[in-house]
């Protein structure tokens, strides 16, 4: 059934179809609509879940952790400062191997106070042990929400699904809402490997000495690796059921491309247009969309970019003192490609704090990358700034 809905409500519908059992959240723009809709679904009896009101995002995540530890399927949503406030507990969820699913609506961090889209909030949580999946459109948002629960529960890791503020969160698009039976078949009820049980009381999260800590981290890392493989399986499974596939990496007109743009989030859709216009002029320009940021799809990315001459990475984020975060990760992944096949890489910073990224902006990036001579002049090239 197709419905027109904003990206935030696509998340809510995904959570409803996934039959989340405990939802705890604290409102923050531009996320609020997600949990507002969910609270109404719960209050109206459409979603038989517990909705826990809390006084902060820190508590929201704490409530999710507690609920998840009892074996419940658990969801929360946040943005920007709210996600930053959760930071300590993100480690608790991941280290506790709790399959909490969270939607983060990408929003710039303050100051200056800003409610528009920017990836720094989610990327700042890179090392907390959460799987991160970035979405391009509202259909992908809904489908990814459902997949996120299955992925999380199979590998016992939390999943953050990420969508752009306003460009997705508050923009209406037609979305195909799958049948509940289809989703139920795809996503079975959670079977927790560890759960709090008063009949067999055990201590969780207590002291782990140096003789065991590393092995736990190793298992977490192995689970991340497994998550990459599981994700691919579930993408295929979902595709077989719905005809829609949202892979970890998507190559668009990139096979014979000499110049490849690498994007994430809604910039991808704009970049597709730009690629098409260059192709129409016979230029071999292509695109790689990165959906999965953690675990990082290193091998697949190497395979896609190997042998290309020029790669331009578009980062709506900045690691101050270094460069665009996607660019740095991709540059690092390409290091193992033999020099002859290793593309030159230009990292562009654009669209921070919600600044508009237009086809002209991306055109400029294509032109600058095509016409550059020799190695990139610097690691971060700022586009569309008033200097």
């Amino acid at each position: 059934m197709k419905k027109v809905m904003v990206g935030n409500h696509a998340v809510s519908w995904g959570v409803k179809l996934a039959r989340a059992e405990v939802i705890s959240a604290y409102p923050i723009t531009p996320q609020t609509q997600i949990v507002e809709e969910l609270s109404e679904m719960v209050a109206g009896g459409d979603l038989p879940a517990r909705f826990i009101k809390v006084e902060s995002e820190h508590s929201a995540m704490a409530a999710c952790i507690g609920a998840s530890a009892t074996g419940a399927r658990t969801f929360t949503a946040t943005s920007s400062q709210g996600l930053a406030l959760m930071h300590e507990l993100l480690h608790w969820a991941a280290g506790g191997r709790l399959p909490v699913v969270m939607a983060d609506v990408n929003r710039a961090l303050a100051p200056g106070w800003n409610i528009w889209t920017d990836q720094n909030d989610s990327l700042a949580q890179r090392d907390t042990g959460w799987i991160q999946l970035y979405c391009e459109n509202n259909q992908e948002v809904l489908d990814t929400t459902i997949l996120a629960f299955r992925l999380a529960e199979v590998v016992d890791l939390p999943v953050m699904l990420v969508l752009d503020a306003f460009y997705l969160s508050h923009t209406s698009e037609p979305v195909d809402v799958p049948d509940a039976a289809l989703v139920d078949d795809f996503l079975p009820p959670r079977e927790a490997r560890h759960r709090l049980d008063t009949a067999d009381p055990r201590s969780y999260g207590a002291l782990v000495k140096p003789d065991a800590y590393m092995e736990m981290r190793l298992q977490q890392q192995q689970a991340m690796t497994a998550a990459g493989e599981a994700h691919e399986r579930f993408v295929q499974d979902w595709s077989a059921r719905t005809g829609r596939a949202w892979p970890a990496l998507e190559a668009y007109r990139a096979d014979d491309a000499e110049l490849v743009l690498v994007t994430s989030g809604t910039i991808t859709s704009t970049a597709r247009e730009v690629v098409d216009s260059w192709r129409a002029r016979g230029e071999r320009v292509g695109l790689v969309k990165v959906k999965m940021f953690r675990p990082f799809p290193t091998a697949a990315l190497r395979a896609m970019l190997r042998g290309k001459r020029r790669v331009a990475v578009l980062d709506r984020n900045i690691s101050p003192g270094h460069g665009g975060i996607f660019a740095e990760e991709i540059r690092s992944a390409l290091y193992d490609v033999p020099l002859d096949d290793r593309p030159a890489l230009w990292g562009f910073i654009l669209g921070l704090g919600g600044r508009d990224v237009t086809p002209e902006t991306i055109d400029e990036i294509v032109v600058r990358t095509r016409e550059a001579e020799g190695a990139p002049e610097r690691e971060d090239i700022w586009v569309g700034v008033k200097v």
């Binding site: 506790g96 560890h194 055990r202 977490q220």
Partner: protein, 578 residues
């Protein structure tokens, strides 16, 4: 190697090996205490108890529990000044529970129930009750339930005493009163009307009875002691009300001055207003000192009664033998008197006059001691807590006995006297009465007496009860969301005959249940499970009896979270038994 180490930081064995109970030096105990409403109730009703039953949907048991301590709930639910609501701990959260409205709904539901069989007489002792006001009716019902044969002798043609003569039908509809009395008769109480003691029947005739409870009230209106008081057009408050309530109100004219600030004054003012008069209440103190029920003052004002405070009449004026007004003196408040209220003293201002066609005096009622078998002291019959007088076998209570003159206090006095008489007669019969510790019978040690405690047949299962009142500081407010108090449905009074229809329509049954759910159940475990949920050692489990909790002392480490979290102060930490 990694396989031997779990993926998460979980203990490899059950934490049951760790007997955290060995750490403790205090432990929790569940002890039911007393809610402040129960302790404040002049009747001694287990208010918290019936609220809890209503919350659980056990309506019929709630009605039984109420009737057990108050045989006149349809009446008190309408006319009591509900000190329980002022004492209610919920006042500190948002607003006190509307106890009166819940009581009224239950009282009306009790009247609608099929009447039970009359109580069986279980002993040969016979008891006479003189007066069928609230004190007499109360004593008679309780004594009947205790197995006595009780006869009420009433001077008036119909029973009810002040309930009928003094309280207007728009506050207490006559059919409610009649049905309440019919229910009391159905319990086995005999009521003989038109028998005035000392006139129709000599007091020594009562020697035939094994005990006598006298509750003939205070009916003589206190005089103003001013010039002109004997003029036609000056009416004594109670006498005016008796006639007005009967439908034979005297003609008052257009302008009426009511003197006084108590409930009689309010009733007179409201009744006169219903006759179409402009009514001015003259009170020598201020609104804060008025002894009338606050609701009645509010309703009187809403009905258009005007008030002139700090003014006292010094003369009822006449013109050609007809009442034409009142001369009054401005007053100021001086130092507090014996009642604790500031004494009004005349100001320096010159007297002023108020035009009036009639004056109703309602500055208080006195006990008429002329025909009583015992002497008055300070205007009242001296009695002890159980209603005993100096005369053997004679007990007394109600408005004649010196306590606060409210319907609730009268019912409470009737209950105390019933216990006093039962105790006296059981001793005389050679039975051993329950221990003579009245404080143990009192709710919270200082409230009115509990009949269930006297009879030792309290139907409420109580966990190690202690007779101690729960204060707001004992309540964990975090567990209670604010919820507005439900308001009575007040309808505007009509004129003429419709002016007698009831003004306050109360709450519906379902609203009453909602209101009961606002009750915090202070001090009484209602199995909310908060202690169990918060116990970090999972050491608390429901008691197998279905009520209350057990604590596993092997694991309770005495942290006190259960006591701190208990929403209602029913858990305390103690060193006892360790």
């Amino acid at each position: 190697m990694a396989e031997a180490i779990p993926a998460v930081a979980v203990s490899t064995t059950t934490t049951r090996v760790n007997l955290t109970g060995s750490w403790k030096y205090i432990r929790p105990v569940w002890r039911d205490r007393v809610a402040p409403c129960n302790a404040a109730c002049p009747v001694g009703v287990d208010i918290e108890g019936y609220m809890n039953l209503l919350r659980e949907g056990r309506d019929s048991e709630a009605i039984d529990l109420l009737l057990r301590e108050n045989p006149l709930p349809a009446i008190t639910g309408r006319v009591c000044d509900h000190p329980c609501e002022t004492a209610c701990n919920r006042c500190s959260l948002d607003e006190g529970v509307a106890v009166h409205a819940v009581e009224r709904a239950l009282g009306d539901a009790a009247l609608a129930r099929t009447q039970g069989e009359a109580r069986a007489r279980r002993n040969a002792d016979r008891i006479a009750v003189i007066g069928s006001g609230p004190a007499g009716l109360s004593a008679a019902v309780f004594l009947t339930r205790l197995g006595y044969a009780v006869t009420i002798l009433e001077a008036a043609p119909e029973p009810g005493g002040l309930l009928r003569l003094g309280i207007p039908p728009y506050r207490l509809p006559r059919d409610v009163l009649d049905r309440q009395i019919a229910q009391i008769r159905a319990e086995g109480v005999s009521i003989l009307c038109n028998v005035r003691m000392g006139r129709d029947l000599a007091w020594d005739t009562l020697d035939w009875f094994d005990a006598v409870f006298v509750a003939t009230g205070a009916h003589r209106s206190r005089p103003l002691d001013v010039q002109g008081e004997e003029l036609p057009g000056v009416h004594a408050g109670l006498e005016y009300l008796r006639r007005a309530n009967d439908g034979h109100a005297p003609d008052l004219g257009k302008q009426v001055v009511v003197v006084g600030g108590g409930n009689t004054a309010m009733d007179c003012a409201r009744s006169a207003r219903r006759q179409g008069a402009d009514v001015l209440v003259l009170y020598r103190r201020t609104r804060e000192e008025m002894p009338a029920i606050a609701d009645e003052i509010t309703e009187a004002a809403a009905e258009g009664v005007r008030f002139l405070f700090l003014a006292a009449p010094i003369e009822v004026m006449e013109q050609q033998g007809r009442l034409c007004g009142v001369a009054a003196q401005r007053m100021v408040l001086g130092s507090p008197d014996a009642s604790g209220r500031r004494r009004p003293v005349p100001s320096d201002e010159a007297p002023f006059s108020i035009t009036a066609d009639a004056v109703i005096t309602a500055i208080g009622e006195e006990v008429d001691g002329a025909h009583l078998p015992f002497a008055l002291e300070g205007g009242a019959v001296p009695v002890d807590v159980l209603g005993r007088t100096a005369a053997p076998h004679f007990f007394a209570g109600g408005d004649m006995a010196g306590h606060e003159r409210t319907v609730a206090h009268a019912i409470g006095a009737g209950k105390r006297a019933a216990i006093g008489i039962d105790r006296h007669l059981r001793a005389r019969r050679g039975e051993s009465p329950p221990p003579d510790d009245v404080a143990a019978l009192r709710w919270g040690g200082a409230g009115n007496l509990s009949m269930s405690r006297w009879r030792q047949d309290d139907p409420v299962p109580r966990i190690d009860p202690v007779n101690e009142v729960v204060e707001w500081a004992d309540i964990n407010a975090a567990h209670f969301a604010p919820a507005p108090r439900l308001l009575d449905w007040i309808v505007p009074p009509g004129r003429g005959r419709s002016g007698m229809r009831e003004v306050n329509r109360g709450l519906s049954r379902s609203e009453a249940t909602s209101e009961a759910k606002r009750c915090l159940n202070c001090g009484v475990c209602n199995d909310c499970q908060v202690c169990m949920i918060f116990c970090p050692d999972a050491a608390i489990t429901p008691d197998p009896s279905g009520h209350g909790f057990m604590v596993d002392l092997d694991y309770c480490k005495g942290c006190g979270l259960c006591a701190a979290e208990c929403p209602r102060g029913a858990v305390t930490m103690t060193r006892e038994g360790l």
